[in-house]
Every structure is written in structure tokens, then in C-alpha cells.
């Protein structure tokens, strides 16, 4: 019981988003953290360095973010729930091995506390500029899962969700939070362990000699044996068959593998995707927002209603896979869609893609200050003219 108390800090706390994220990970069963200090994600590493020894987990500060992600892929294959946390520049460094994690179907969680880019940009300032990198950053066709928290409480809850998704689908899952969420202090309620739902990777049911490490079952996800369990399997970043044997020239194997790696996410999108809908039933103008901006959007929508503007909000919790059908549905009902983002237009492209004829307006904001509700209302008015 002592252990439980130590891992899940049940109760109400006042903490920052970064800390809540760390606690969420621990509550989710993360027992391996490999990272590299970077603003504004450093506090997560600091918290992990302090907490891991307390709960018998492993913390290692690697020589760079490439090493960090390589290490957590290793830890994941060794059977641990593993995580790293970084920000834009480090996230960029990780891209190649995100591809490796996708290819070798390593369950792991990458936290990206987004700051202003490009390059070193504004380390201490917020941003939502990694939305596309998260999906397309590594080469080749693939799918990942990304969630966007909008409160410190969600930093806790969604981190747990990230691990559950990673374990379910054997895929790297990203928590895309902006600097404000990461550094913001709020009340966080940590439930007792028994109330926390945890998912662990499927184990093979066949004996080692029959085990094929990349042979999927029903939901396209292969059961995962771990190193040291006697299955003696091989995994590679090369295109491989179900046995894990390299297939570097086979058209069939390449097609079969790439399709499955994507489809296991696409075909399960319905199960994966989470959103929050506010007053959309009769809305003429829909605001689609995520992360910190969604909070401004919410109050904007409420104020607008008071002014008689029929506004509604779609808050994206799941960024990737993108909730296409949902957005398409809304687009049909409303006259206009406003997408406030702390970038120069990233997710708005996805919205436009599915909104078809419905006009979509980007409300871009760069630098320190997040959107103000008044700005969003102003945008509605303009849009409705």
C-alpha cells in the first residue's frame, strides 16, 4: 500500500501543468523516463528525476533528444512504460526515431511543451507551432496519436490517456501542450488508483516458436513480447515481414506493412478521438480550438451568445488522428468556422480540407499573448458580415 501511496498522489493539489503531466505519467505506470533539459519542458524532467527513484522507476538524462527517444524505445521493448518530454528543437531531433518507434511499433509517450519557433525561437513563450510536425515530422507514411490538453487537470488526465493509447495501439503518442499550460498552476484532483483506468500492451498467447512479432490480430495491432521473455525475436527499422525479417526489396511487404501501420490508427479513429462540443446544436458560427486557445474560445462563445450571436465551440482533445467526420458534420450545419491558433495557420488547413464550401477563418496569434475572447468575438462579427 505504501507503494500505491507513493505512485499515485491521490488528493487535491495545486501544481503546474508540467508537474501534473509527470504525476499523470507515474499514475499511468510510466517507470522509465529518458530526457534532456529544455525550456519549457524541463520541470517534467526535474519532477521525474526526483520521483522515479521513489517509486522504483528509472530516470536517465541522455546526451541529447535523439538519445532520449532511442533510450525510451529500448525501455519500451524491455517491457517498461516509457516517456520523454521536450519542446520544439528537441522534438525536431526526435523525428527520425519517432519513425523508428512507428516502424517497430514501440508503445511510448512523447510530451511536447510547445514554444515559439522556428529554430530556437522564443524558448519561454507559448506556441502551437508543432501541430503539423507531430504528424508529418518523420519521413514516410505513418500515423501517430496526439492529444492537446487545455488545463493542468488535463495535463494529468490526458497523460494517462496517452499511455493507454500507446499501449493499446503500439504507437508513439504525443501530448501537445503549449508553454502556458505547461507552466500554469491550477488545482488538480488526483483520484485514488482504483479509479484510474490503465491499459497494458497485449501479450502473445502463443509459445515462442510460433510467435511472429509483427503478426497483428483483430484490431491490426500485433501482441507484443518483450526482451527477456524467451520469445527471442528480432525487430528492425527496415521494412520487415511478420517474423521481423528484413524485406528491403519486396513490394508486397512494403505495401502490407505501411498500410497496416496507418490503418491500425485510421480504422480505430472512432475509438480514439475525443472532443468537447459546446452549444453547437443551433450554432451559425463555430469556433474550433484546442489547448490554451480553447479556453479563450469558450468564454468568447458564451459572451457572443449574450450578444445574440449564435456561436458554438468544438474543442479538439484529440488532434491526431484528426476528427474529420465530426468537423465535416459541423461544417454542414454552420455558416462559418473560426479557427484561433497560436501559429500562422496549421490545424486550420485540416479544417479547411474537410469543411468543403463552408468558409473557414484563421485567427492567428504569434508570440507571448494568447487570444482574448474579445478578439474572437470580433472575428465572429467580421465573419458573419
Amino acid at each position: 500500500m505504501e507503494k500505491k501511496n507513493r505512485a499515485v498522489l491521490t488528493g487535491t493539489h495545486f501544481m503546474s501543468g508540467d508537474l501534473a503531466c509527470a504525476e499523470g505519467a507515474i499514475a499511468a505506470g510510466c517507470r522509465f523516463f529518458g530526457g534532456y533539459p529544455i525550456t519549457p519542458a524541463t520541470e517534467i524532467a526535474e519532477r521525474m528525476a526526483r520521483r522515479m527513484p521513489e517509486i522504483g522507476g528509472v530516470y536517465i538524462q541522455m546526451e541529447d533528444e535523439i538519445g532520449s527517444i532511442a533510450a525510451i524505445i529500448g525501455a519500451s521493448y524491455a517491457g517498461k512504460k516509457a516517456m520523454t518530454a521536450t519542446s520544439g528543437p528537441g522534438f525536431s531531433l526526435m523525428q527520425e526515431n519517432i519513425g523508428l518507434a512507428v516502424m517497430t511499433e514501440a508503445p511510448l509517450v512523447i510530451v511536447d511543451i510547445m514554444r515559439g519557433g522556428p529554430s530556437t525561437g522564443q524558448p519561454t513563450m507559448p506556441g502551437q507551432q508543432d501541430m503539423m510536425q507531430a504528424k508529418w515530422g518523420s519521413h514516410g507514411d505513418y500515423e501517430i496519436i496526439a492529444l492537446a490538453p487545455s488545463s493542468v487537470q488535463e495535463m494529468f488526465d490526458l497523460t494517462i490517456e496517452c499511455f493507454n493509447l500507446a499501449e493499446t495501439y503500439r504507437v508513439p503518442v504525443m501530448l501537445l501542450a503549449d508553454e502556458i499550460i505547461g507552466h500554469m498552476w491550477e488545482r488538480v484532483k488526483i483520484p485514488p488508483p482504483e479509479e484510474i483506468v490503465l491499459v497494458s500492451r497485449k501479450k502473445p498467447k502463443v509459445p515462442p516458436n510460433e510467435y511472429h512479432p509483427f503478426k497483428p490480430d483483430g484490431n491490426l495491432v500485433p501482441p507484443m513480447a518483450c526482451f527477456g521473455e524467451g520469445y527471442r525475436f528480432h525487430a528492425t527499422g527496415l521494412t520487415h515481414d511478420e517474423k521481423g525479417a528484413p524485406k528491403t526489396v519486396s513490394i508486397e511487404e512494403q505495401t502490407k506493412l505501411v498500410k497496416r501501420l496507418c490503418d491500425k490508427i485510421r480504422k480505430n479513429a472512432g475509438k480514439i478521438i475525443k472532443v468537447e462540443e459546446v452549444m453547437l446544436e443551433d450554432a451559425e458560427v463555430a469556433v474550433i480550438a484546442y489547448g490554451i486557445t480553447s479556453r479563450a474560445a469558450l468564454s468568447a462563445v458564451r459572451k457572443a451568445r449574450k450578444e445574440g450571436i449564435k456561436a458554438g465551440l468544438l474543442r479538439l482533445i484529440t488532434i491526431w488522428p484528426f476528427p474529420e467526420e465530426l468537423v465535416a458534420g459541423i461544417a454542414k450545419k454552420v455558416n462559418v468556422i473560426i479557427v484561433p491558433e497560436m501559429n500562422y495557420g496549421q490545424l486550420v488547413r485540416e479544417v479547411e480540407r474537410v469543411a468543403k464550401t463552408t468558409p473557414v477563418f484563421l485567427l492567428s496569434k504569434l508570440g507571448e499573448e494568447p487570444h482574448r475572447p474579445s478578439e474572437i468575438i470580433e472575428a465572429m462579427r467580421r465573419a458573419l458580415k
Partner: protein
């Protein structure tokens, strides 16, 4: 006996993913010899193969992980050691061996190597040094000797090569040895030693590259190169690795470093124990006041 079950008779058959034989390496390539020595070492030690993990990077020798009949992982270019670090720390019961090439470990992966050695992560690094990037057709790398001809040094190499054993020793490896693919028995002994030692062990294996580097540099057939190894290699245990540069007419081989030093894993576990003891109200001090 037919070929297939003749293979089963081979004393090392059980260490090999036979269905993937013959391997992709060229005629006379040293990689196969290295792999064979590794297997013989496993055979000597009768290690529990279920608890052994082999990790490799990119390059010809990178394929080694695919041929060993144990848990194995073929990482991206240069990242084998970082991956192995994760594996070893996540499950200390595993023996983790990195088998990779000079380019993978010391060019693109150099940073991971020196830091793993500094931390003294309990992994074994076996480096096949063929003095160039063979897989991509023979470009110069971090160990290519001065003046050598490669496809990217068409006027001769003007970069000074690493002395890998010196680098490893300076970085803090607890066991450092160098052999050529001709000294297979001694190589096997070193691998055995490394496998039984705590901390980062490094073994450099000087290996022929008959089809690419050796041909470009007119070193003759694989046999010629092996004969040259016989001629120029001199066994000097305990020799100062700093002085063990590889030259045209001398390759000093032997065990250069063999020291004891607690590994990262051990220190982390000890720290963990202290922390938890304190949490249980024990007296141990783990944080500065």
C-alpha cells in the same frame, strides 16, 4: 546429409537464425568471423540466451542483429548504444551487447558512445572496424587512415583517424581490447571477459573489407589482408592505448584496459534503495540539506 540438416549439425547452429543464412556479407568479409567468435564466446559461457539482447546500428555489420537467434534490435543509424542503454536500465537482468561498425558507433553515433562509456552503462560494445562505410559503397569514415582512397576521398584522405581504443579508454570504458579477425580465439576470450564484466566494455575488431576498402586501396584479397594482420599485429596486453595507433606496418592488439568501476545501473539502484529507505523513515541521506 542434406545441406539444411547439415547446418543443424554445425556446433554454432543454435545461435544462428538459420533461415536467414547465408548472410548478406561479401566473400571474405570479417563480419562473419566476428559473429562466429561472438557465438563461440556464448557457447563457452553457456549464457541464458533468453536473457541476452543484441543491438546493432546501420551498416554492413548492422545486419548482425538479424542473424543472432536471441532478442535483437536493428536501430537507426548511430543509435544502437542509446537504445541499448534504455534496454539495460529498464531490465537489469538482461545482458545487452551492441555489435556495430566504426562509422555507426563513432561518426554519427560517437556522442552516444562516449557518454555511455562515461556513465559506464553495463553494455558490451563490439565494433567491427573496416576503415570505411562499406554498405554505401566505400566512403571515408572516422577510422579511415590518412591518404587512403575512398569514393569521397578521391584525392586521398586528409582527415586524421580516431584511435578507437584510446577514445574508449579516455571515455571511461572498464574493459578495452583490440583484435583482428585473424585472432579469433583471443577475440572470443575478450568477448567472454566483456560479457562477464560489469560496465561498458569495448572491443575493436579490425576486419577485412575485401570488396570495397581493401580493393580500392589495393590491399589484395581477403587472404592477403588476413596474412597482413598476422604480419603487422603485435600482442601487447596492458599497453597504453594512447600509443596504440594503427599504422601501415603495425597493429598493436591485446587487452589495454581492464578495471573495476560501478556501473550506472548499480549506482542508480543503490540510490533508489537509499531514497526508498528514507521514505520508509530510514536514516539514509540521499539529498543534500
Amino acid at each position: 546429409m542434406t545441406e539444411s540438416n547439415l547446418m543443424l549439425e554445425h556446433p554454432l547452429a543454435k545461435y544462428l537464425r538459420q533461415e536467414r543464412m547465408p548472410h548478406i556479407w561479401c566473400e571474405g568479409c570479417g563480419n562473419g568471423v566476428l559473429l562466429c567468435s561472438f557465438f563461440e564466446a556464448l557457447d563457452e559461457l553457456k549464457l541464458d540466451l533468453d536473457k541476452l539482447v543484441v543491438v546493432s546500428g546501420i551498416g554492413c555489420i548492422g545486419r548482425a542483429a538479424g542473424y543472432v537467434n536471441v532478442d535483437s534490435f536493428h536501430t537507426t543509424h548511430g543509435r544502437a548504444i542509446a537504445f541499448a542503454t534504455g534496454v539495460k536500465l529498464a531490465n537489469p537482468d538482461l545482458k545487452v551487447v551492441v555489435i556495430s561498425g566504426d562509422g555507426d558507433l563513432f561518426a554519427i553515433g560517437g556522442n552516444h558512445f562516449i557518454h555511455a562509456a562515461r556513465r559506464n552503462v553495463d553494455i558490451k560494445v563490439i565494433c567491427a572496424n573496416n576503415f570505411n562505410y562499406g554498405m554505401t559503397g566505400g566512403q571515408y569514415g572516422p577510422t579511415t587512415p590518412l591518404d587512403s582512397w575512398t569514393t569521397t576521398t578521391p584525392y586521398g584522405n586528409i582527415e586524421h583517424p580516431f584511435n578507437l581504443v584510446h577514445l574508449a579508454a579516455a571515455s571511461g570504458a572498464v574493459y578495452v581490447a583490440r583484435w583482428t579477425t585473424l585472432q579469433v580465439r583471443r577475440l572470443r576470450n575478450s568477448i567472454e571477459k566483456a560479457l562477464q564484466k560489469e560496465g561498458l566494455s569495448f572491443i575493436e575488431v579490425i576486419s577485412p573489407c575485401p570488396e570495397i576498402y581493401d580493393r580500392y586501396n589495393k590491399l589484395g584479397t581477403a587472404i592477403d589482408v588476413m596474412k597482413r594482420f598476422k604480419l603487422v599485429s603485435e600482442v601487447r596486453h596492458g599497453y597504453d592505448p594512447a600509443k596504440a595507433e594503427i599504422t601501415k606496418d603495425q597493429i598493436i592488439v591485446g587487452e589495454f584496459i581492464d578495471i573495476e568501476k560501478p556501473s550506472y545501473g548499480r549506482l542508480f539502484r543503490e540510490m533508489t534503495a537509499k531514497v526508498q529507505k528514507k521514505l520508509k523513515g530510514g536514516k539514509a541521506k540521499c539529498e543534500r540539506k
